[in-house]
């Protein structure tokens, strides 16, 4: 069953699910001192698939959000003599308790787990042409959702923030080559424990659900900060992405027939 309600992550019904698919384009600022001391800037494209549903946990007040996003960026060096091509996949799952301080306002907060896999390729370097990115984190996720009436329809605005608190990430050592790691099997602190001091990461998203006919369109802005400072190597990926997509809300209906009727 499908309806055009813009409500997200909300409602007491445990069988209500929303699926959102967003496409985005934006600005990417990239630093990886393993490849270059310069910041590269350019364009990023992103696709985000998000699923929200309520669980039966804590009397149905725990909402689960499962999101998967992929991005590809093409960035120039300050003098445009070299390029970085970067890509990655992020998967996040969060379980958040829901409060309703006001009838049209919902606040959600809870733990999350995230995994990131990616790469950066520099078109100019020789034995250090690329950097692999891999990380797993656990942290906190929070969101505030406000429904309001406008033009005789119900709209929904959402702000969401995710902050990893502790995790593990892959990194070569300071001038360790990938030949040493993968061809020779020489490991040297290549799996690093991360915390907000040495790997301050933050993901924020502001979105608005607009009812359009019987459909719901979502527009959003995402600010991503992914950074690390391990093994004396510094990295950052700062992104500002504008997204647009659609939201589908489903309600699972239990069939009312007997097994013998099948």
């Amino acid at each position: 069953m499908h309806n055009a309600s813009p409500a997200q992550d909300t409602g007491p019904m445990t069988r209500l699910r929303t699926h959102a698919t967003l496409f985005g384009v934006g600005y990417h600022n990239l630093l990886d001192t393993y490849l270059s001391p310069s910041e590269y800037t350019g364009t990023t494209v992103r696709i985000l698939r998000e699923h929200n549903r309520h669980t039966r946990l804590m009397k149905g007040n725990i909402a689960m959000q499962n999101s998967l996003q992929g991005n590809l960026a093409y960035c120039n060096s300050p003098t445009e003599d070299a390029k970085d091509i970067a890509g990655g996949v992020d998967w996040t799952i969060a379980w958040r308790y829901q409060w309703s301080p006001r009838t049209n306002l919902k606040v959600l907060a809870g733990p999350m787990a995230a995994a990131h896999l990616g790469f950066v390729y520099n078109t100019r370097n020789g034995n250090n042409p690329a950097q692999a990115r891999a990380a797993v984190d656990i942290g906190l996720s929070a969101a505030a959702i406000c429904d309001f009436r406008l033009l005789n329809r119900t709209w929904s605005a959402r702000y969401q923030i995710e902050v990893p608190l502790i995790g593990l990430m892959f990194s070569p050592n300071y001038t360790q080559s990938y030949y040493e790691i993968f061809s020779l099997g020489h490991y040297d602190h290549n799996v690093c424990v991360t915390n907000p001091v040495q790997a301050f990461n933050l993901n924020q998203m502001l979105s608005l659900d607009l009812p359009v006919g019987t459909h719901v369109v979502r527009v959003g802005y995402q600010c991503g900060i992914r950074q690390s400072h391990v093994n004396h190597l510094k990295t950052h990926d700062w992104t500002h992405t504008f997204l647009v997509g659609y939201v589908k809300t489903f309600q699972l209906v239990k069939p009312r027939y007997r097994t013998s009727e099948l």
């Binding site: 910041e39 020789g126 001038t175 360790q176 061809s183 020779l184 950074q227 004396h232």
Partner: protein
Amino acid sequence: MNKTATILRLCLMAAMTWLLAGCITEDEFDNTPSGNFEALWRTLDEHYCFFPEKAAAHQLDWNEVHERYRQKIVPTMNSEQLFEVCSHMLRELRDGHVNLTSSFNVARYWDWFENYPANFSDSLLRRYLGKDYAISAGLRYRILDDNIGYIYCGSFDHAYGSGNLNAVFTKLAMCNGLIVDIRNNEGGMLSEAQNLAGCFTNEEITGGYMAHKTGPAHDAMSKPEPLKVKPAEGMRWQRKTVVLTNRSTYSAANTFAMYMRACKNVTLMGTPTGGGGGMPFHSELPNGWSVRFSACPMFDKDMNCVEEGIEPDLRVELTEEDFRQGFDTMIEAARAYLKTGEKP
């Protein structure tokens, strides 16, 4: 209410401070002559791996180099003038793997072979190979008149498949000895040097060691880890082998010589190799110039640094007289050694 507002304000300030302090960035230099010079000096200062070895061999003091060359930087100098000062500074490292590349020039240190006799002649090589030699993955090979196999390996830029190496050693299988000539081989892929060396050992051996920097300090170096040479899965050479080297045997070819020295039945013959025992990395300057530098040092099986080259077991040089008569002194010495054991 006021108390709550104060607490909220403090929390907001703390969050903003955390956000601002949390931004991870790298110190950037201006795109000016001074900024580019400082960026170059610091890139080398923090990443170059042979400062202790260069200090021992050439009394290099990198801080003194900075002071000396910094005085030559003036704000009004043009790109060519800046490039000249920077390239002279890099020459102080005496490292063939150190380059500065601009759109108009490549700064290099080539004294490691330019200051030495070539000990190699293309004309003589053509005479020995003839016209009917075989080629497999860049390896040029044939059987010489006295049933000695000869392989000329001019670079390690080609990837060797097991089919390539099997074809070479199958053809040479009946030879009484083998010459592997890596003169004027200026390197390529380390993995291929390792693959070819694997045809000369029946058991896994430690061909040398490799390390890397673990931080910006000159002596921040990892524990050297062994470079294992695994026996090739296909054909393996079992008889005596001579590896011919000269000063233009460099980088991955230098590493191949290092591996071969660890193999049984192998003799290095010729002149010392040119070195280049550090795997190079790249970086860049604010003006877009590319800089290359040695980042991962290598050591032989006895933990001697191979950056300055490898001494052969038997020294032989190309003589003028042999050259005029169309003979390659080094190939002839190798043939004699393989046939009779006679040392040059």
